[in-house]
Amino acid sequence: MAESMIELTHDTLDPEKITAQVRRDSNGAVVTFLGNTRNNFEGKQVLRLEYEAYEEMALKKLGEVRDELRAQFGLEDIAIAHRIGTVPIGETSLVVAVASPHRKDAFEACQAAVDRIKEIVPIWKKEVFEDSSRWVACEDHEFDSHQHNPPGEAAESAHTHQL
């Protein structure tokens, strides 16, 4: 099986090209998910997103996601591409393409892949607003306390402590 279907890139993603990697005549279903950059957060206009990755580990974890999905759903054909660096609003930051003989597995595996990517792959996105920025950390609202402040004006106090 091809091992070339995992990609991190600073370039624009081409969903057609990535999807083509999983097409084959024995697959009756192809599901491709596109994660696109959204223009707002809690009513504030987002100007762009900036993605950072621990690249070596991110590639390894994306490969693990692919391998988990292959084992869980008994399918072979999964392609994942994640864009890093600055991504303008409305562009695609993530493409996950899954193909299987029948549609149910393809839908389920694609959703499972996206969920897992968001859980274990060391990639971070920052929403940049007109006057500030914020690292998105969906699991952990404690981190919000500093994030609406412009750089250099982060709150001093709340979390200072000695162990």
Partner: protein, 79 residues
Amino acid sequence: MVVRFFALYRERAGANTHQLELPEGATVADLTSEMRRLFPRLAPPEVDIVVAVNTDYAEPDTVLKNGDDICLIPPVSGG
């Protein structure tokens, strides 16, 4: 040993890396305690600081060795 920071932790630490000495047999938990002491604003106390050693998530009792690739991993948000 050298510890690398990413994203939120890099900004809060104000550095890409930090070099430190830990005693022989030091664990990931020892490392995170020391990092909290050195960088009190890195993460609130109720948040566990996740550590990757040699590109895998490490448990608190993992023993660190010289030459390990050690990274502090803030909550991930890919996609």
